[in-house]
Symmetry: C4
Subunit: 211 residues, 4 copies
């Protein structure tokens, strides 16, 4: 198999992954439902219906941001991989399966976060992103695996650093899961805080690369 | 990092952005609902139901056109950027988050424009596109920012002209928002007028480039 | 503007168009609704509900096939265009706006074809595809327009032949629209027949190119 | 027609196919419905509603996995085809039409698998994937067809081996269809087993290529 064949193979996995990431976050909009009334509604009624939907706006923004930052990391890594073998293909498939279902835990959180089932909803939301980040670690492990040694552009030090960094995600969402036993909003705040730290780090890293 | 790596990075951001833009405008069709009856409907009943849905057709066309022209501008600019750093990545992420939710303010406008909450709906629709165009200005600012100086194909004069032109969008939608306090349809007409002017300008500019 | 810049511009319009075409036909599946019962349903009940949905299967297949063949033509033409100017961009935008809404006339046809409003539904379905094919002719006209003379890979003879061939679409759907005044299923049959002829032609043409 | 033109043609068919594949599996998430209550729900009520939806999670995962492995095969083959003629274009169109409707048989299976219509649902689900795999065989036949002889990168031995392997899919899903006459879950287990065998094979094959 020629080098150019490998190149195209990687590009197609990237294109498919980009598609699923982009579609999944765009489908989140279906969780935003325009209030419908069986009568001609007054302005205060409409405003109050919009306000009741506030958890949906928060949940959508949080999921979008988390998936987007994951996509940034995924893209930074995959573009330096020159060859896609079976284990990477399936680890990536598991990641995409999970990413593609993100509108479900998001809508679940939005529906129940301010109800008695709020802590359950927050725990499930955190558990979902825990699973997503474990799958992302699986992708990294598949890249590190022996069959790729010659086929990716990472030094041993770099990939070890990537894997060390990637351990932070599962830990953060495990923490958010445990916090959900106590309070739903604290759990959501941990998820948001995780995103903030990663966004900050990523911007720093990009700066560094350029200097 | 090699030049070819940079090239691919830009292309992937473009591909992801194209996905979200294309997908968001295609999801607008879900706002068009086929009338359902609990009896076998007569032709006049069906026609009258279709006529009542007219605001949905107007709102869909307007949003599609506005997002499309934004995509044209976005595409004209991004294809001359050679390197994507952290701040551009996140400014673009904010833009995509907003673009991906376009079916919501569109459906909201369509539902309430001819009701007492019509001015509220028009104000929110304008506010949504105001936010979209502010995010677009953020993308331009990120490109202009120091880290890109050497990494984009724009002269200082060109990028200053782009930024001057881009200030028109937020002003137009601010105007539409204020007009909504007076009349919903005037506000919608300003949004449509903005689109018409930009389409005309863009065609002129394309002509110019070619000569 | 360099040649490679032009190349990339064309590719991005193609990518965006492919996205809208692919999304729109995939969204057609939302017109297929799994029957729901408020009791545990027996096998005959489920089968009868599926049978009642038969028009939806026919309508989905017909729209998918028509959009697919249009995409094939669109793709065959756009890949030989080297430069995208303003009028082509907007003609293409109009085509995409129409294509993106294909699930709506399809669901409308499926809902009403076997009811008193069936002829209305068939007339609207034909009118929709008439508009789509007129927009496609506009795309061809924009390519033929003076500004492209040097920028596309077609000889004058070829593009005249393309435009002659493209006149067939509007005529066929105008015929289907008129036929709808008489009988809905005849109108649908004309739409299907048009597709059959074009598919046959396209296979012949591909054969020819290769010899 | 130049070689580079052929190259781009193949890439666009790949891009369109990737779009439909990626989009169809992402739309599966719409089958997961957040439970809604007309009162403030207790935790046990929510948990019980989630448990009742278990067949939907199983069905989604199974369809995602089957489509994903099909995409892997499709991608491995198409990237070695240098020219797309009419029969390949239409065979591929039929495959995409079927793939794009995958959320429907999946939702149908999830709704009825634990009801009296469960065997009917399992039979239809298997029949759907039987049709998908027959369409995939048609794609292979179109590639093998005379017009491509010089235009794909497969030796006669390789393509014969591909076609032999591809016969396994229709047989497995025919088996699952027949098994559905006896028991719905056995039929589903055969579908899952088929996927497991192919995933295992594909990983082996990728290993082999690399050595």
């Amino acid at each position: 198999v020629s080098n150019s064949g490998h190149e195209r193979e990687t590009q197609r996995v990237e294109a498919f992954s980009d598609g699923v990431f982009a579609f999944a976050v765009t489908l989140l909009v279906l969780d935003l439902v325009v209030p419908r009334f069986d009568h001609v509604a007054t302005v205060p009624e409409v405003l109050s219906a919009l306000r009741q939907d506030a958890p949906a706006y928060v949940a959508l923004s949080l999921t979008f941001a988390t998936i987007y930052i994951l996509w940034v990391a995924h893209h930074g890594i995959l573009r330096r991989v020159h060859h896609v073998d079976g284990s990477l293909l399936y680890a990536n498939g598991l990641l995409l399966l999970l990413v593609s279902t993100c509108p479900f835990p998001t809508a679940f959180l939005a529906e129940f976060v301010d109800q008695p089932a709020g802590r359950l909803a927050a725990a499930m939301y955190s558990a979902y992103f825990l699973a997503v980040h474990l799958a992302f670690n699986l992708v990294l492990a598949a890249i590190q695996g022996g069959h790729h040694r010659a086929a990716h552009g990472f030094s041993d030090l770099e990939i070890a650093a990537l894997r060390r960094r990637a351990r932070f995600g599962p830990l953060a969402f495990l923490g958010a899961m445990l916090a959900a036993a106590w309070n739903a909003w604290v759990s959501v705040a941990i998820c948001a805080g995780y995103w903030g730290i990663l966004a900050y780090r990523s911007i720093q890293r990009h700066r560094h690369v350029e200097e």
